[in-house]
């Protein structure tokens, strides 16, 4: 059963790591804006670049 001493230590350490990660995230402002990134990810890359240029000059 002595292994429990080790496991208890491990569980506390793990929990501390997660707590530390949360504090780091909160302090660096990663949760400040939870809305915009969700929209940002939906934008396409510039696929139509060539086409739009063509349009512009033809008209």
């Amino acid at each position: 059963m002595n292994i429990l001493y080790f496991l208890v230590g491990c569980s506390v350490l793990m929990a501390l790591i997660f707590l530390g990660a949360f504090i780091w995230a909160a302090k660096t402002g990663q949760n400040d804006d939870v809305y915009t990134p969700g929209i940002r990810i939906l934008f396409d890359d510039e696929l139509e670049e060539a086409k739009s240029e063509e349009d512009h000059f033809s008209s």
Partner: protein, 818 residues
Amino acid sequence: MRSYGLGNRKLSYLVLPFKFYAMKNQQQTTTYTICYHCGEEVTDHVHRLDDKEFCCAGCKGVYQILSENNLCNYYAYNHNPGQRFNHDTRLEYLDEQQIINQLIDYTGKDSSIITFYIPAIHCSSCIWLLEHLYKINQAIFSSRIDFIRKQVTITFSHKEISLRNLVETLIQIGYEPLISLQDVVKEHQKALDKGLILKIAVAGFLMGNVMLFSFPEYFGLSGLEKQFQVLFGWLNLAFSIPAAFYCGKDYFISAITSLKHKHVNLDTPLALIIAVLFLRTAFEIIFNTGPGFADTLTGLVFLLLMGKWLKQRTYNHISFDRDYRSYFPIAVTTLINGLEKPVSINEVKIGDRLWIRNGELLPADAILMKGDAWMDMSFVTGESEPVHKVLGEIIYAGGRQTGEAIELEVIKPVSQSYLTGLWNHDHYKNHVQKQNFNDSIAKYFSLAVFTIAFSATAYWLLQHDSHKAWSAFTAVIIVACPCVLALSTPFTLSAILSVFDKKGFYVKNTDAVEQLAKCDAIVFDKTGTLTTTRNAQVYFNGKLDDHEKKIVASLFRNSAHPLSRHILKELKTGDFFQVKNYQEMLGKGLSATINGSSVYAGSLSSNLKAVDHQPFSGVHVVIDNVYMGNFVIEQEWRPQLNVLIAQLNRSFDVQLLSGDTNKDERHLRTIFPEKNQIRFRQSPHEKLDAISALQDSGRAVMMLGDGLNDAGALKQSDFGIAITDDINNFTPGCDAILKGDSLSLLPNFIGLSKDGIKIIKASFAIATAYNFIGIFYAVQGTLYPLVAAVLMPISTVTIICFTTFATRILARRNKLFT
């Protein structure tokens, strides 16, 4: 109202050449074109580029810039994402180093970072465009949007692009940043308090771990596991230390401060319980007499902090604490030896010469020295028509010049002007301390708990059982925890807040909801509160035939004045005459020769002598010295005011304070019955005094207003509501912001807030019942930690369920449920 015939008001999006309609105009059929950029109906002249129609040169200009920079994706994400704008803002002040330093967040060797508040941000296209600024100008490295707060943070090379050029770039693409004296951006950064979030995270961590190590104790330990008991006990004690002294620190501080003022608030018994729980846990573990109450302690602290967080939670995107500074620009042009120089408003001194152009705001009380002043004082007085001022007259801060540029001499610094005085009024200081239900009951609660605790101790001491005396004393205090009291209020009120929120009523915080429930008098402002600014109605008194209509429309088409735009929109003529000798007399009217006739439109004061005096206000039209009639632009009354006022009159004392003249008195009397007091021509200070007079007569006053002229009254009232048609507009400091469309729901809002207070009282009764069960065991000195640890979460969960369901039911009963 005389209708202009064009019966079909439906927008049809057909795009056909405009001349075509002119020919068919007789048949009164018409089709509207909408602007490719902003989506507004094109009323006069169509601007075209690349087969696309635009309503104005501004919109076309934006499109041109975007298409030149390959940014046409802007139009791909949303239809007509732009907003029509007209900018005549002067930006010289952005070249002043002092002002730049004030605005910029950070300056490094090669780059600077600045955050702007841009009210025009409203859709995903805005995000896309503003995050691709680097395509327009290489000197902009990157830009990031915070959509909810409508802010953009830009990193740019200050060597290659000046701040002024940067702002000009933003304006060119239709996103003008709002730079005012009260820096919205910086205020937000200040308001973000991360301390509480961190404490909740730590408390949650501690609670979880303590629960883990307490479980073996709950289920009973076998002989083999006994060896762990000591380890778990010490671990729990170690976790209790940060719970009590880091997470619970604020409760001790608050308790000590309130005791110093000989006053008991809710934090006092809470701090006592945290202390007792910690001491008893430490005592039991150090002397190995029991498992302690670490689980109760950490659970309590975690729940308390959650309640506190709910209470503090507020709207990120709405500011409730704005004052005159958000209406003022950051700089003003001064004249030094005849040379213009922009100066930061805070540095304007007595004797400075100010140079105020058309549309600019006068920031300090000043004397008119040169020029023709037509001041729009609607900020200060609520009166909508511009006032003519003569040389040597004092003009109060807050006036907006409409007309030519004027020169003024400052007689009072900005911070001491007539308008600013509203905020420095002594009244606010002796405002009665607002006490909520919790704090008022905390006193009696603590008293009762102490009486029971001490009598139990005394009893056991008389029985010569000092061990039981100690455990009975601590157990009573632990069990009688007002935790539920501290939680039911934030849970109930924040549930109510979110119901309000869905209906367009944004209340500042949970304390304000309690204030709302207490109000028994309601005072309305008129302009902007009972009327809406959105749809001005245009009437024409008189007759115009189609030919004359065309003449008048051709005249108005040349003017950028808001009234002219309104009228032109109403006239809906697609065809115009050539205009000669066009003259715009600022603040007075327009005149021109059109199709051989001389035409005048404007106010009467500067009218031609040949015309008989007409008693009406509005825009008067004279063609060839014949008076044709006048356009009256009337603000529309909000719908169903009669019903609203009748409903409110049943249980409230209703009054009206208007800054305007009594021109609408007759109409108002059809809404407000005889018993309601109506007062006109109220200055902002008079409004404020009227509110305090009501309060002195023992009333709790709710004030509904909209403008800066109501700001003092809103602040003085017990519950100030700012009404707005657009939630993103600037509103004066207040307790709540109400969307104009939701005004008719006001009685329901008040009803729900009153029911909320009932819910809190009911949950207090439930909590007391739980406490009696706990105290029954506690006084006997036989309270086992397991019972305490189970009792507390159960009562908390009961209360949270009760408040949530009760709020839902009552919201439905008040017809506020979607």
